[in-house]
């Protein structure tokens, strides 16, 4: 599997990461090594195999719809990088 600079840039954008030219160079090399190794899985015929997302049977967990204690707003905001009037503050997103 050949990993190109375009591939790295595309994936980095999807993951919301900026990479320096130096980082890109190194990552192209690393990813190519790692992905080539992962291609080893193609030695196995899995056409009839059902994928396992979770090892234990996952089912929806229901509970009664009742009012329970929640965390106070101040506590939920205590780690916010910026806040104002009891809200998380973000840069303007709509004109």
């Amino acid at each position: 599997m050949k990993v190109t600079k375009e591939t790295i840039e595309h994936v980095a954008n999807l993951a919301r990461l900026n990479l320096s030219e130096e980082e890109k160079e190194k990552l192209i090399h690393d990813m190519e090594n790692i992905i080539s190794y992962m291609d080893k899985l193609n030695e196995l015929d899995t056409s009839e195999i059902i994928p396992t997302d979770h090892v234990i049977p996952i089912k929806n967990v229901f509970r009664d719809d009742e009012v329970l204690d929640s965390y106070p707003k101040s506590k939920m905001l205590m780690n916010a990088p910026e806040k104002e009037d009891g809200c998380f503050k973000v840069p303007k997103v709509v004109e």
Partner: protein
């Protein structure tokens, strides 16, 4: 012997018999941290006065006869990806350098309820991604057996702290071997329980379908005691197993007569390190002499576990770590032009290189055009690996093998070679892929006097059999009594 060197059950015994107080014990371990952690670097946060205050309170409760737990007054520490209310929890990342959890993880709460004394938070690879604890934003942790070597990872701080007497016990987390491999490198006992047995509520997520919290202790008895405290159904974790939980200390029986034990050939076919292989075969001899039936068999898919693991874990990580956007908590870039720029700069500045590598790998495996080829394929291989173990456990009660292909390597030796580092996980990742319980115990030393770890793998929810076999081995050998000299 100093107090800090004792096992949890020895500490507990002295407390119960009023020979020592919880305060003296906490002081002894804190003094030990002050004396040696500058060299080892296992703690990110040490709670000095707070720990002593807490110990004083616990002692008052002990004096009034209000506590029953064997963990009452025991000084312990947690890996820094386990949330502790009002105590900084960093995941060893710049991203969470200032993060103070507004709530406790279920395991933290459970341990407080047992009247343990929290001494602090332990170093790790950033977001638990790594096998050497060299990927911490803060510092490298050194192996107490040889300060030029890594303690393993990602729970390297936890393993080193227990090995050097800087905690009665510690909790770590294990997504692909992150408890068992550092336990092996540092000569301590480490268990990854069955998926779902320990609540993940409050554990900062890496790969949710494989993450599991577990204890690192000085012996098998301690492991059972801590397991009793941290296991159990938790409605706050939707993958928590709603089953009947046994008293694990009842499994501490010195007898393996008639037990069927399998050694996967692929786990000892290790030309690179004959000393590790020999140590495992010596264990097999010991267990045979104690009446167990031990034989070799084949787990043919072993070599596919590492690629499948790195696809699945990176895919889940790329999704889990999308929450770090600089809005609700954690690091935010200082300068940005708009919201997108804020996301990009925050994430690029906040994450370290290995975390970025895994996010990119995972994003790649999940991206349009590659999803079927990598992610779906890895999940299909997961089915095959799970079935492989299922078949093995129709014949055997327990599987044994090494926890890692080598003993602790030199700091810096593999840091720039990610694939080589990943291949070191060959004997541990299958267990997470299949959700099985597994336990590492010390079983020998190599010519450099570095510990070798034995891994025992069990059937789902059968931690008790693992503990019994490990306990029997321990009672008939001396390896667990040998401590790192530091």
């Amino acid at each position: 012997m100093e107090l800090y060197q004792l096992t949890v059950h020895e500490m507990s015994d002295l407390i119960k018999r009023k020979k020592i107080s919880a305060v003296e014990l906490a002081q002894s371990v804190l003094d030990r941290i002050n004396a040696v952690d500058e060299k080892i670097g296992s703690y990110i946060t040490v709670l000095g006065d707070e720990a002593l205050k807490r110990a004083k309170k616990v002692q008052e409760r002990i004096d009034k006869g209000e506590v029953k737990s064997p963990l009452a007054g025991i000084p312990m520490a947690l890996k820094d990806n386990i949330c502790t209310e009002n105590v900084k929890t960093t995941c060893a990342s710049k991203m969470l350098d200032n993060f103070i959890p507004p709530y406790d993880a279920t395991v933290s709460k459970k341990l407080y309820n047992e009247d343990t004394v929290l001494l602090g938070k332990l170093n790790m690879d950033e977001f638990a991604m790594g096998a050497s604890t060299e990927n911490s934003y803060y510092k490298v942790t050194r192996n107490p057996w040889d300060l030029d070597r890594v303690p393993g990872g990602s729970s390297g701080g936890s393993a080193a702290a227990v090995a050097a007497g800087m905690a009665g016990f510690a909790l770590g987390s294990d997504t692909g071997g992150s408890i068992r491999q550092p336990a092996s490198f540092c000569g301590v006992v480490g268990m990854k329980p069955t998926y779902g047995v320990v609540s993940r509520f409050g554990l900062i997520a890496f790969a949710s379908s494989m993450d599991q919290i577990g204890p690192l202790t000085k012996d098998v008895t301690d492991c059972a005691i801590v397991l009793n405290a941290i296991t159990g159904y938790d409605p706050m974790d939707s993958t928590s197993a709603d089953v009947k939980y046994p008293d694990y200390s009842k499994a501490l029986i010195n007898d393996v007569k008639g037990f069927k034990i399998g050694i996967p050939k692929e786990y000892i076919d290790n030309e690179a390190n004959p000393e590790v292989k020999k140590a495992v075969l010596d264990v097999a001899e010991t267990l045979k002499n104690l009446g167990a039936l031990v034989e070799e068999f084949s787990l043919p898919l072993t070599c596919y576990a590492v690629p499948a693991y790195y696809i699945i874990s990176s895919a889940e990580a790329s999704s889990n770590l999308s929450r770090y956007d600089g809005i609700k908590y954690g690091y935010r870039a200082k300068e940005y032009t708009d919201l997108m720029d804020l996301y990009m700069k925050t994430r690029s500045e906040g994450f370290g290189v290995e975390v970025k590598r895994r996010i990119l790998l995972g994003t790649y495996a999940l991206s349009s055009g590659y999803y079927d080829e990598y992610y779906k394929k890895a999940l299909q291989v997961r089915t095959l690996i799970k079935n492989d173990f299922k078949e093995a456990f129709e014949k055997y009660d327990v599987l044994i093998g090494p926890a890692a292909p080598t003993t602790a390597y030199k700091i810096g030796e593999k840091k720039e070679k990610p694939l080589e580092m990943y291949l070191g996980d060959i004997y541990t990742v299958s267990v997470n892929i299949a959700g099985l319980p597994a336990l590492t115990i010390p079983c020998g030393f190599d010519t450099n006097r570095l510990p070798i770890g034995l891994q025992l793998i069990g059937k789902p929810f059968d931690e008790s059999t693992l503990l019994r076999v490990a306990y029997t081995f321990e009672q008939n050998t001396e390896f667990h009594k040998i401590r790192a000299r530091i």
